[in-house]
Amino acid sequence: MKDIALQALDAALARGVSYADVRVEHARERALGTKNGQTGRLGSSESTGAGLRVIVDGAWGFAATDDLSSTGLSAAAEQAVSIARASALASRSPVHLAPEEKHEGVWESACAIDPFSVSIEEQLALMLAIDAELRRNPGVTLAETNMIFTRTRQVFVSSLGSVIDQTRTTSQAGFEAWAFKGSEIQKRSYPNSFGGQCQLKGYELVYGLLLLDNAPRIAEEAVALHSADQCPEGTLPLIVDSSQLALQIHESIGHPIELDRVLGSEANYAGMSFLTVDKLNTLRYGSDIVNAVADARLEHGPGLGTFMFDDEGVPAQRIDVIRDGQFTGYLASRETAPVIGLTRSNGAMRAAGWSRLPLIRMTNVSVLPGPHTLDEVFDVDRGIYMETNRSWSIDDKRYNFQFGCEIAWEIRNGRRARMLRNPTYSGITTEFWNSCERIANRENWTLWGVPNCGKGQPEQVMGTGHGASPARFRNVRIGGGYGK
């Protein structure tokens, strides 16, 4: 792969580019699913190709090809150059990149048990055992399980002289119990909705999730929701579990701090951001106890946003995003960093495969643990505790959001009281984070994976990481999703 990458780079350099980088990738995936005791999905896929990014006449061009012959690579280089020349027809100012060092390295993410070495029979046997356990509850009308494993090797080379070889292995697993009754569909998921938990790990992730142990409880809750009261409307203290807080972080911290969005690059699709550059170091984003980082380093944990180098050859870094409630940092690229006075990119450029252009993407954007025990977080006279995301929506500048969860409980005097169905909550981003009054400690902190973040045109689906512990917010609007 290195030879192919260098050959493509040479083909670009021979055409007079002022900068070029090449990513050659081989991606492998295994996807399994069961539904009501049958194999629902069973497949494997692999994809290999090269993406060439060039600057010519001060403008960008990018071409990606599955043809890795020398003819194919030359054609792709020629295409990238001709595209860059066309870009120059409607450009305003030449592209300027923040300086970066030449880097060389080989890195492979930790993987205690290679998920591709575990037999499919074993994987399906576990999934079918979970499926059977869910359907032992007669109220469960649909049981589904899934596992997805990926391994991507990428060789990055650039005209700076960098040669970086990275291999990342991810694992994902989870299950859902559906219960249809009368005129309602209820669903419970474990350990999270929309695919479960997903991390930069091998099959050890699956063993650690205790999937089978949790199946009876999840089935019971899915069925019990039909007898639960509707979540009331009102303004109340809200406690969210760590998986829901992870998605809240993703939508209302992670996306607003993407500097390309702030600067208008995504105006036509993903939208812009309320975090205009004048707010850097001046905006009180949250209460004093809110501290958030964007951290792609191994030290942060095995997140979907963990790597050694980003996709323009910048080393993984940690950025303070919110420090003691104050907004302190954006996610940037080599092109956008100078706009806010940074002398160097903070390493957030990532592409969804060889055929896509790197964009500023979240790495692991996490809210750091607080000092509180779970009992302290739940210590309210009356409040609502919500668990596991069911729906999520936020406006195109990331102000107004609404989330729905699968299940809730009313909290009375610090303890769970009645179960509630169809809970939703909504708010304005900065008001919400400024109302944060308790964050649980590291014992309750989990680094969640969001495998389905969409951005860019053509759209790129990316995995991001978000560490969170359960947290409490005061005066939150509850129940608006079912408001008349």
Binding site: K35, N36, Q38, T39, R41, L42, G43, S44, S45, W60, F62, A63, A64, T65, D66, D67, S82, I83, A86, S87, L89, A90, S91, R92, S119, I120, E121, L124, L142, F180, E184, I185, G264, S265, A267, N268, Y269, G271, F274, S355, L357, R390, S391, S393, D395, D396, K397, N400, Q402, G404, N422, T424, S426, I428, Q457, P458, G480, G481, Y482, G483
Partner: protein, 453 residues
């Protein structure tokens, strides 16, 4: 010349068949895809991302007794073909037997493809980066002249799909596509327009740029209205954004699984009498292949007739279970969702958009919707935001722009409250796949919150 010719597809299949037989397996199905697309993206009145890609897909499904599984690669050399076939067979051997699994479809059972319009335009396939850049430059100029900032895309591409199986089925489809969308952003307002077509020549970037710029200008200095129930005029893209959310539930498998909102409902008069919805792969404004994931010919369906749900899409497996004929809407096997209609055509009415606005005493005009997610799966309550051109209608005309609303609206209720419709057009949005839809006037639309812009 196509990206992939039929003869090459047959050659790839023959090699795959030989590899399968060498491993003792007779029954395989292969899907071959090839695509070449290019997208010129602009923001801040300049091209900032400009990309092209070409790729292939070779996906092999093996069938051994009551077992099936799939392996996929993007390489079509001899060695890769052999390896992907062997991988498909290895996976199939460890799959759980499925008593309901059917044999590969024969050409006779797959049926005749109806008369479909050509969906390939060689000029679109040959569009150059310079042509896209010059069109973008002209559109930027229009928005800039209106004191706004332009962002958007111009995409052109071609695609080939082939499906062959060892019972002699050979399906082949090729098409081109073009998309142009543009957002004009002013100080405190924005406007948006988008179009898609088989042919780039059917899209006029100048018209779209003017429309986006006009919306940005007319919605300047937006005022805040209280949330509540309003009569809304939804432009076709907004109809697509919202109504497009419900069609995964028009699936026999989803109903069997009791995860569809149609499960156990009285389907007579579920929507208003003026609601008529077809699924029609052969409609001149539609796109896509006229066969499904197993190669069965797509049939045109009347999903909703005068407000009553009539036809439900069936794959071969769900049709066998229900004792009916498949409709050609099955997804590639193995899968856990069954089938889905993807060529939606919503019949319209006789009004123009201007007449619809004029007939509303007081209401809201909505250009597009954003970030729509399902709040309630059975009532089909969707939440989302308005975006890029939301206006108060008063005295039969849009009078000023308003701050964007959040809605929590049941699509079932919405389709009972349709007051007027325009003629349908090919609508293109970002929240659902392209479909043919009219603008709609809807009474009692439920806006629940308002944002800060």
């Amino acid at each position: 010349m196509n990206l992939l010719e039929q003869a090459e597809c047959q050659t790839i299949f023959d090699r795959a068949q030989r590899a399968a037989r060498a491993a003792g397996v007779d029954d395989i199905e292969i899907y071959i895809g090839a695509n070449a697309t290019a997208l010129t993206r602009f923001a801040n009145n300049a091209i900032h991302q400009n990309v092209a890609e070409r790729d292939r897909t070779l996906s092999v499904r093996a069938l051994i007794g009551q077992r099936t599984a799939r392996a996929t690669t993007n390489r079509t050399d001899d060695d890769s073909i052999r390896r992907v076939v062997e991988e498909a067979i290895a996976l199939t051997k460890v799959a759980e037997p499925d008593p309901a699994l059917l044999p590969l479809v024969s050409p006779e059972e797959a049926g005749e493809i109806g008369a479909a319009p050509s969906r390939f335009d060689s000029a679109t396939a040959a569009t150059t980066p310079e042509q896209r850049a010059l069109a973008v430059k002209e559109a930027i100029g229009i928005v800039e002249a209106a004191s706004a900032t332009a962002a958007g895309i111009f995409e052109t591409g071609e695609e080939v799909e082939a499906l062959l199986n060892s019972r002699g089925l050979f399906r082949f489809h090729t098409e081109t596509s073009a998309r142009f969308s543009i957002t004009a952003t002013a100080n405190d307002s924005s406007g948006w327009a988008k179009a898609s077509a088989v042919s780039a020549g059917a899209i006029d970037p100048v018209v779209l740029a003017r429309s986006a710029a006009d919306k940005a200008r007319l919605s300047a200095s937006p005022r805040e209205l209280p949330p509540g129930r309003y009569t809304v005029v939804l432009e076709p893209a907004a109809v697509l954004d919202l109504v497009g959310q419900i069609f995964a539930d028009f699936s026999a498998t989803a109903i069997f699984d009791q995860r569809s909102f149609l499960t156990g409902r009285d389907l007579a008069g579920l929507f208003g009498e003026n609601v008529v919805i077809h699924d029609d792969a052969y409609h001149p404004l539609q796109s896509g292949a006229p066969f499904d994931g197993e190669g069965v010919a797509r049939r045109a369906l009347r999903l909703v007739d005068c407000g009553t749900v009539r036809d439900i899409p069936y794959s071969r497996a769900s049709a066998r279970r229900a004792g009916v004929a498949p409709t050609g809407h099955g997804l590639a096997l193995p899968n856990d969702t069954g089938e889905m209609p993807i060529n939606i055509v919503i019949a319209g009415g006789g009004s123009t958009l201007d007449e619809m606005i004029a007939s509303v005493g007081r209401g809201i005009l909505v250009t597009r919707l954003w970030y729509i997610r399902e709040v309630d799966p059975f009532e089909k309550i969707m939440t989302g935001m308005t975006r890029d051109g939301t206006f108060l209608i008063e005295g039969s005309r849009p009078v000023y722009g308003i701050r964007n609303f959040r809605f929590n609206q049941s699509v079932i209720e919405m389709l009972r409250n349709v007051v007027a419709m325009s003629a349908p057009v090919r609508a293109s949005g970002e929240e659902a796949f392209d479909l043919v839809a009219p603008a709609m006037t809807v009474a009692n639309f439920n806006f629940t919150e308002v944002t800060r812009f």
